[in-house]
Amino acid sequence: MTKTKNTSFIKKIGLYLAAFALVLPMFGVNSVSALQITARKLTLGTSQADALTTYAFNFTVPSTTVIKSASFTVCTTASGACTIPSGFSVTTGGPATLTSQPTNLGDTSGWTVDTSTAGSLRLNKSGNVAAPSGGQTVSFSSVHNPSATNATFFARMTTYSDAAYTTAIDAGTVAASTAGQVTVTASVDETLSFTLATNTVALGTLSTSTTASGTSTMSASTNAGSGYSIVVSGTTLTSGSNTITALAAPTASSVNTKQFGINLMANTTPAVGSIVSGAGSGSVSTGYNTSNSFKFVSGDTVASASVPSNTNTYTVSHIANIDAVAAPGLYSTVLTYVATANY
C-alpha cells in the first residue's frame, strides 16, 4: 500500500518536471544566467535603407568560457519577442559572409558563417578550444539593411559554449539605425568669360622718326572642353581714302615706313606690351607671339586655349609708323575681338 503511494508520488513529480522542462525554453532559459557583454557596438558600413553592407560588431565578453558559436539576431525591439525588421536579411543579395575571421573570440581561424536562421547573423566553430580574450570583433559582409529609413533596430548578441547556439554564455544588445541618404547636387553651366578692359587706344600723332604705340587688354576663360579662340577683325588705320599699310606678315617695327600691326607680347622695339598673365592655359597664336614682330590680318586668331582654361589676360600692343608721304588726317579703325568657346 505504502509502496503504491510512493510510486504515484514519484510519477507526479516526474510529470511536473517534464512539463516544466517543456515550458522552460519559452522563457529563454538558455539566457537566464548569461552575463552582460560590455563595450559593445555595431558599426554599419552604411546606414542606407535596403543597402547591402557590412555589420561590424565590437564587444567584450565577461566570461572566459570557450565560445563555440555566437549569434547576432536583428530585431525591431531590444527585448521581448523578436520581430525581424522589414527588409533585413542575411541572405538577400548575399548571403552574408564573414568579412574576416573574428578577433579574440577564440581560435584565429576556422570560424564559419551560418545564415540558416532568418534575421540572425551567426558563426560557429565546433572545434574551438581557445578562450576569448580582450575585446572581440566579428564582422559580416553582404548584410541587407532594413527597408525603413531613419528607423532604429537592435542586434541581440549571444555567445554559446556549444556549436549549436544552445547553451548561452554571455549576451548583450546593441542599437543601430538606418538613415536617409542626403543627396547633394550642383549644376555647373557652360561658361565663357571674355572681357575687354579698354575700348580706345590713342596712338597720338604719328611721326616718321618714332613709332606710335598703345595697348589694350582682354581676359578670357572657359570651361569648354576644347578651350577657346580669339579672333581679331577690322581694317587697318584709315583716314578717308588714305590708309596706313597693315603688316600682313610678322614684321619688325620700322620707322619712316607705313606700318600698322599688333602683337600680344612684351616688346622692346618699341617698348610696349606685356606677356600673357593669369592661371589659364591660353596662349598667343602664331604671328602674334614674337616680341618686336607685328602683324595685322583681319580674321586672324590671335590667342587660344585647347582645353578648359582659367582666366588669362592678354595685352594687345598696337604700333603704327608713317613715311614722309603719308597724307595728313585723323586715322582710326575699329577692331573687334571675338572669343569662341569650343565645347
Binding site: 558599426t43 542599437a175 536617409g180
Partner: protein, 359 residues
C-alpha cells in the same frame, strides 16, 4: 424543590462569577479608570514597510492634554493587536528595544529632561521624574529606532497613556491610535538600449518623427560666388559610451568630372574647385549653418566644428559624444566652389551618415 435548587445553584454561580469579575477589574484597568480621553491624536510612522527597521514613530495631538492641572511624569504608548482589551503585542519583528527619543517632547510639561525607556517590550515610554510643569499645548513625542511588525497590510494600535508618576502607574489621560503596516509597491521599468538617429533637410526641434527631405540643391556653381546648402541630423542614445557619427560618400561628381573635395580642410575660396562640409554654427564665409540644438551633450568634431573651415573626407567622424546623451540636432553646411575649368554638367553625390552607439 427542584426549582429552588436550580435557583440556588444559579445564584451561587452568579455570585462567584460577579465576585471574580469585580476582583479582576483592578488588574486590567485600575490605572485607566479615571483617565480622560486625549483628543486630536495621531501616530505617524516614517515607514509602513513590514519589518522596517529604524522607523520613526511620531505621536502628536492637535489639542492639549485634557488634564491640565496635573504634571505628567511619564508617558507610554503600548502597542497591541487590538484597540482595547487584553493587549497582544504585534507578532514578528516588532520591537521598541532600540528606540530613542528623536527630540524632547512638547506639550507634556518640562521642555527638557525627558528620557526614553525601553524596558517594557512592545511599549514606547518616556519619563521625567522631576517634571513639575503642567501640560500645555499640543503634544509631540517622537521616537527613532523602532522595528515595524512583520505582517503586511495589518492594523495595530498604540494605547497612549500619560501618568502623574514616573513609573507609568497612575494614569492621567489616555487614548488609542491606529496604525498599519502596508505592502511596499515595487515599481519596475526595463530600459532597453536606445539609439534614435535620423537625417533629412528639415526637422522640428530634435524630433526624428518630423524629419523630412533628402535633397540639398546647391544650385548653379559659379566662379564668383560660393554655392551653399544645409541638411540636418538628430541623434540620441543611452549607450554609456555615447555615439559617433561618420559621413560616407563621394565628392560632387558629374560623370568622370568631379569637384575637388577639401580633404584636409580649409576655407571656402571662390574660383577654386572645392567641396566641403562642416557642422559649425556661425560660418561667415559663406554665411551658412546653425548652432547645434537640443539638451544633448554631443558636439561636432574639430575638423568639422570650426567656423569657416570646411572639409570632406569619406569615413570621417563628424560628431560624437562619449556619454549617454539626450537628442541634439546638427545642421550640416555644404559649400561648393568651381574654377574656370570645371566642366559643365550636373554634379551630385549621395552622402550617408552612420551613427554608431557604444554600449
Amino acid at each position: 424543590m427542584i426549582i429552588n435548587k436550580l435557583v440556588k445553584k444559579i445564584s451561587n454561580a452568579s455570585i462567584i462569577t460577579l465576585a471574580m469579575g469585580l476582583a479582576l477589574v483592578p488588574v486590567f484597568s485600575a490605572t485607566l479608570a479615571s483617565a480622560a480621553p486625549i483628543t486630536g491624536r495621531k501616530l505617524t510612522l516614517s515607514s509602513s514597510a513590514p519589518s522596517a527597521t529604524g522607523v520613526n514613530y511620531a505621536f502628536s495631538t492637535t489639542a492639549a492634554l485634557p488634564t491640565t492641572g496635573t504634571p505628567v511624569k511619564s508617558v507610554q504608548i503600548q502597542f497591541c493587536t487590538t484597540a482595547s482589551g487584553t493587549c497582544t503585542t504585534p507578532s514578528g519583528t516588532f520591537s521598541t528595544s532600540s528606540a530613542t527619543l528623536a527630540s524632547q517632547p512638547t506639550g507634556v510639561g518640562a521642555a527638557a529632561g525627558w528620557t526614553a525607556n525601553t524596558v517594557t517590550a512592545g511599549s514606547l515610554r518616556i519619563l521625567n521624574a522631576s517634571n513639575a510643569t503642567n501640560p500645555t499645548g499640543n503634544v509631540t513625542v517622537s521616537w527613532n529606532g523602532v522595528t515595524n511588525p512583520t505582517a503586511t497590510n495589518t492594523t495595530f494600535f498604540g494605547r497612549v497613556t500619560t501618568y502623574s508618576d514616573s513609573a507609568w502607574t497612575t494614569a492621567v489621560d489616555s487614548g488609542v491610535v491606529a496604525v498599519s503596516t502596508a505592502s511596499q509597491i515595487q515599481v519596475a521599468l526595463s530600459v532597453d538600449e536606445t539609439l534614435t538617429f535620423c537625417t533629412g533637410i528639415s526637422i522640428t526641434g530634435q524630433n526624428c518623427g518630423t524629419v523630412t527631405g533628402s535633397l540639398v540643391n546647391l544650385g548653379t556653381g559659379s566662379t564668383t560666388s560660393t554655392s551653399t546648402g544645409t541638411s540636418v541630423m538628430a541623434a540620441s542614445t543611452n549607450g554609456p559610451g555615447g555615439y559617433t557619427i561618420t559621413v560616407n560618400g563621394n565628392t560632387l561628381q558629374s560623370g568622370s568630372n568631379s569637384i575637388a573635395a577639401l580633404g584636409s580642410g580649409g576655407a571656402s575660396v571662390i574660383g577654386q574647385s572645392q567641396f566641403g562640409i562642416n557642422l559649425a554654427g556661425s560660418n561667415t564665409t559663406p554665411a551658412i549653418g546653425s548652432a547645434i540644438t537640443g539638451t544633448g551633450t554631443a558636439a561636432a568634431l574639430t575638423n568639422y566644428g570650426t567656423n569657416n573651415n570646411f572639409r570632406f573626407t569619406s569615413g570621417d567622424s563628424v560628431a560624437s559624444v562619449v556619454t549617454p546623451t539626450n537628442a541634439n540636432t546638427f545642421t550640416i553646411s555644404y559649400i561648393a566652389n568651381i574654377d574656370g575649368l570645371t566642366p559643365a554638367g550636373s554634379y551630385s553625390t549621395n552622402l550617408t551618415y552612420v551613427a554608431t552607439p557604444n554600449f
